[in-house]
Symmetry: C2
């Protein structure tokens, strides 16, 4: 019933426009009563985005079950849940993207949803970094960066017509955030396994960086990366 | 006239509530006709935030006039324009913050405005980094991080009642974004002056970092910073 209503609503929005379609039109097309609509959707806008509430609930559950040392990785994985929801229905997602760009009310609705995802991710990081100086600030900034990277990749995919691999584009964007994030996440105590991996064997290629103590490390690293051709 | 209308509207919103106040109430209190209101404000929501349009215009003008090599610094300075607008009227800003938290429509309006600031900053960076691989993605991510840091500090200040120095809190938050941003901004060609500053004199304290080439630089830097007690 819920899905049938969302489907009927979306077809009408595409045919007649969002503003021009009433809830009465939608329930007539779906063959149900007016009350049924409001049982499932608080507003017309909600019918355009029928899956976000469930995705937010999934994200919260995913974060609650996550407990590894790599909090930034957990948050990136959580963000991918949103991409997968879009990628599961490429045609619908692309059509909705086009509709959303035309209707200011839908654009605003989407901003609210994005902010809720961002707050969910920030809340997780805040909990993990509660003992870190500026933990709440770092949490907010990293969540915003992850969401921005995710959405940038997702939007590119939607604009391209949903043809390629959304997951790959999002993975690349999130990997870039992690690389940009030198020193952003509080350091964690390395496990023994990581320690030995870091110590490495003999004869491996090494980087030696020398910097004056007054020079910000990020600038020194920029130059090393630039010299290595990583940028 | 515009200011008088915004003032009358705000007093009524505080006294009676936002939803309960009509445009007729506002114009009656300000002693003008109904049309005058809509000449200045497209909606009731706009009257709650009378300064954002001007601030957005100022930000755009500031960015257009900015041309230094430090694009991230320019964007941080541009973000500070918003803080200064809030700090210029502490009591009004604090009362509005409380009102905004109670009225979903105002909260949504604010999200739209925040997104416009973010897009303005991202647009500047995109222009500066157009020749950089992933320049558009980096621009989007950095703009989101700057806005998140700025807003985190601003919200703390508003929640504390607007008593302390908003500028100082925002400066600290933005400085942290810059420190987190190791390698995030594309490297720029250093000027001769910077080069000689970087080379420095003899006898200065230096950092020597050695890392295997397979280890991500951000992780190596985390450990150096951790050892230096900078985190």
């Amino acid at each position: 019933m819920r899905e049938a209503l969302a489907e009927a609503a979306f077809q009408l929005f595409l045919q007649r426009g969002f503003e021009q379609t009433t809830v009465d039109d939608i329930v007539a097309r779906a063959g149900v009563g007016r009350r049924s609509f409001f049982r499932y959707f608080p507003s017309k806008e909600d019918a355009v985005f029928p899956d976000h509430e469930r995705c937010l609930a999934n994200m919260t559950a995913f974060l609650e079950a996550s407990d590894g040392p790599d909090s930034v990785g957990v948050v990136c994985d959580a963000a991918r849940l949103v991409m997968r929801m879009y990628a599961a229905k490429p045609e619908f997602s692309v059509q909705r993207y086009q509709l959303t760009r035309q209707v200011p009310g839908l654009h605003t609705y989407e901003l609210s949803v994005v902010r809720r995802y961002e707050r969910t991710l920030a809340g997780y990081l805040r909990g993990r970094w509660s003992a870190t100086p500026d933990g709440a600030l770092r949490a907010e900034v990293l969540a915003a960066a992850v969401v921005a990277a995710h959405n940038h990749a997702l939007r590119s995919w939607l604009r391209s017509g949903g043809g390629g691999d959304a997951g790959e584009a999002v993975d690349r964007a999130l990997a870039m955030v992690r690389n940009m994030w030198a020193g952003g996440a509080p350091p964690h105590q390395p496990t023994t396994e990581e320690e030995s991996a870091t110590r490495g064997g003999s004869g491996e290629e090494v980087i030696v960086m020398v910097a004056r103590k007054g020079v910000p490390l990020w600038r020194a690293v920029q130059r090393v990366e630039s010299a290595l051709g990583e940028k």
